[in-house]
Subunit: 471 residues, 2 copies
């Protein structure tokens, strides 16, 4: 509960309309897209300028009030849940596309800009901003930057981190820093830009960002490879990469996912198949794209695909991609609670990982569908369950713990693109070690000595014991 | 001067042969490729394993002895000069190429591995590691990582930072951390990998690194555009990018540089021209490469090129590239001291920057040749001078200060790829601000509380006053 004097000052900073602490506003901002986590903030604020952000942070810092930055709240790690109370700072009024600089191939915007809207503006100029999280219709670029969002084009084009080259950010003290710029090379001191990307609101609030753009690839071909053997599909992933072909998209979808997606989208997906690979190649030259698609087709068949289909039209290709993007929202229709995980392994281990996931699901008697960005090793094993069934939820947790452990044993990580937030915090030590956590806490202290920036995220009060035998 | 007990313990760690403190070893390691800086270390040590590195750091940390990590010493920022004494740790015994993983398209190596040797090993498998600093024949990959080396292919392929995805590093405490892995996506906590890249030996000593590889582009074309008007050449750079063409290489060479390079290489460079652009395009498809080269040719001529020549053979192309790579070493033949600078601007500002450099050189009556990676805004204005002429050196310093200031005013930075080291430390605040420096010092403390890791680098005792009027 905020003191009346604080509320008064907050209202003075943003105007009466833009600070809210009525029950509706608090409840609406007590959760995000993450299942099973909720916590009431003490207030919700909507700044419209860098100066307002700075004034709010300065005040919060003086009074040790937690600040939880928020874009669209579409994250899946509990990243914007005010777990220690405080003020949720919603950035959606700062949503201006400031500039697309065609001479430098950069764009500069405020954090509240919608990702899809930005894509369309960029593409209208024949340019390309590759990061495409499945949530892009609702997500904001600021949220993408704070979580280092990935997407379906990661294997060829990288993730948000690879595109952000300049930031303006407000520190808890209210000081404003500017990092990088419209620069493709900058080694002036430690790379604060890349450090802030993926920092999950725990270090600073960004108020402006500059990203690299690239020329749009002119041609694109989409194909679907269908498998009666799920492991043959998984093995195909490393076979394609092993042949030195990097598709723009290389998605894996297992049969349970396929069934749900088909029921919702009705586009004729092959329900008799155990798994499909959805593959897209793009490029500046049609014949090069076609050569790759031919080579990939050959590799799929060699690895045991029952059938390979190449999309005959843009419409058909888009339908396939839309179907894949709808996987999470359609899976959410099966049972009351959907938990989407994000363990990531070296891409040569995709087949081993699929085997492990299915073994673990059976062991704990839970329902796990698996789909995801196989081409960069980033699978999303998704559990459809019911939060009200405590016994089942306990088994789900055990299953995911064992999945994280398996990922790490294969040289992987606990999260490829969703972030640590609250959900993975107890497991972070498994990946980065106690010394890694200590370094990260030291970095956090350098930015935020009073721990007001999104407290309770990334760092757990206690790490989970790793029950499974380590290497 | 190290105490006898310390020297004894160091000898016990690495064996008698691999610790040296005779005058020859100390003098040899008192300087690097940077002109006009020298400082005697107290000892030189050559570890051969991670365990030896850890034992040395632990001992040094207990006794507060500076540790200066060193690869080939080819850096240009005074990065490996033991400015506060202590021990130079030469990594060249740890030079093993551990693995090229063709399924995951990654390579793992020890830091002492020679860059060119690594390139050849990778290329023999049809793969590609793009970062190509001009020093690559002598430089080590560990040095490249610590300085975040760039090169001639930065505009299309990025720099070292874009390729390093996993590190093993020893902290001053002797603890070993592992970051990232063979992973294209990993958002488990703050990105320590990217933070360590470019950290100039001030945070930790890396003992192993994993980098991304890409399929090698199959085709390459090289061309030379010649200009009687230097600014027309500079303007062409942004015109090419503005047409959404990203060449693999886009180098600017002015007439004075051209003359020196020709005198040494004798390959028929056009000495009557004010500037040339050396342009290379590559790709997986010959016709796409040819289309780009045709479009670039048209743009060059539109922008006022007097002549455009396309290399008729691989040999001819390689001669041109070799000539460019030899620019620094050949310029070093003109006068006793050569100071190569590294200011970087948004690429649309290249023409303005060339105008500024020439104006400033005239103002201070110093000789500055300019060449560099124009395509990514990274010019190397190079001053040929004489360290013994104090009056001239003073004017050179003033000229470079004004160049840094101009770069920052244009939205640029004080160093694009050479690092801060000793040379740029007094200017770092101009780029990152006082708040930025404080954050970086906080990060430094988190890794190295006793300030033993390459002390005196990145952070200056005192920042230079910025004399020129700020925006």
């Amino acid at each position: 509960m905020l003191a009346e004097s604080i509320r008064k000052q907050l209202r003075q900073i943003v105007g009466d309309t833009w600070f809210k602490d009525d029950p509706e506003a608090l409840v609406t901002h007590s959760y995000d897209a993450t299942p099973m986590v909720q916590s009431m903030p003490d207030g919700v604020i909507y700044p419209s300028t860098r100066e307002e952000v700075a004034a709010i942070l300065k005040l919060a810092n003086e009074h040790r009030i937690p600040i939880v930055g928020r874009g669209a709240g579409s994250n899946l790690c509990g990243g914007t849940v005010a777990v220690e109370g405080g003020i949720v700072m919603v950035m959606n009024r700062m949503n201006r596309l400031i500039e697309i600089d065609q001479d430098n191939l950069t764009a500069t915007f405020q954090p509240g800009l919608n990702t899809k809207e930005f894509h369309l503006a960029v593409e209208a100029l024949g340019l390309f901003y590759p990061p495409d999280p499945s949530s892009m219709v609702v997500s904001t670029l600021g949220g993408n930057i704070m979580e280092c969002a990935g997407g379906l084009r990661g294997l060829k084009y990288g993730t948000t981190k690879d595109y952000v080259i300049g930031l303006e950010a407000v520190l808890p003290s209210g000081e404003v820093i500017r990092t990088g710029g419209k620069l493709y090379k900058d080694v002036a001191g430690y790379d604060l830009t890349k450090l802030l990307v993926g920092s999950e609101g725990t270090l600073a609030i960004i108020t402006e960002a500059t990203v690299k753009l690239t020329p749009a690839p002119k041609y694109k071909k989409t194909m679907l490879a269908m498998y009666e053997d799920i492991y043959a599909a998984a093995r195909t992933v490393s076979a394609i990469i092993g042949h030195q072909i990097i598709p723009a998209t290389l998605e894996f979808i297992d049969n349970p996912t396929l069934r749900v997606v088909e029921a919702f989208n009705k586009i004729g997906l092959p329900l008799n198949m155990e798994a499909v690979l959805l593959i897209e190649q793009d490029g500046s030259d049609m014949s090069a794209v076609e050569q790759d698609i031919e080579a990939i087709t050959r590799i799929c068949l060699e690895q045991g695909a029952a059938e390979v289909k190449i999309a005959g039209s843009t419409q058909e290709a888009e339908k396939l991609m839309m179907a894949r993007r709808s996987a999470l929202s359609t899976l959410a229709r099966i049972r009351p609670t959907t938990i989407l995980e994000d363990a990531t392994v070296p891409r040569s281990k995709i087949a081993d990982m699929v085997i492990e996931i299915n073994r673990i699901a059976k062991k704990y008697d839970v329902q796990i569908c698996t789909f995801g960005h196989a081409g960069d090793g980033n699978l999303h094993p998704t559990c459809t369950t019911d939060a009200r069934d405590h016994d089942e939820i306990h088994r789900v947790e055990q299953a995911f713990e064992e999945i994280f452990d398996a990922a790490i044993r294969m040289g992987g990580t606990i999260t490829g693109e969703h972030g640590v937030g609250m959900m993975k915090a107890p497991y972070l030590e498994w990946k980065v070690g106690a010394a890694g956590i200590e370094l990260m806490k030291g970095i956090k202290r350098a930015f935020d000595p009073n721990n007001i920036m999104n407290p309770g995220k990334i760092f757990a009060k206690e790490s989970r014991k790793r029950l499974v035998v380590q290497r």
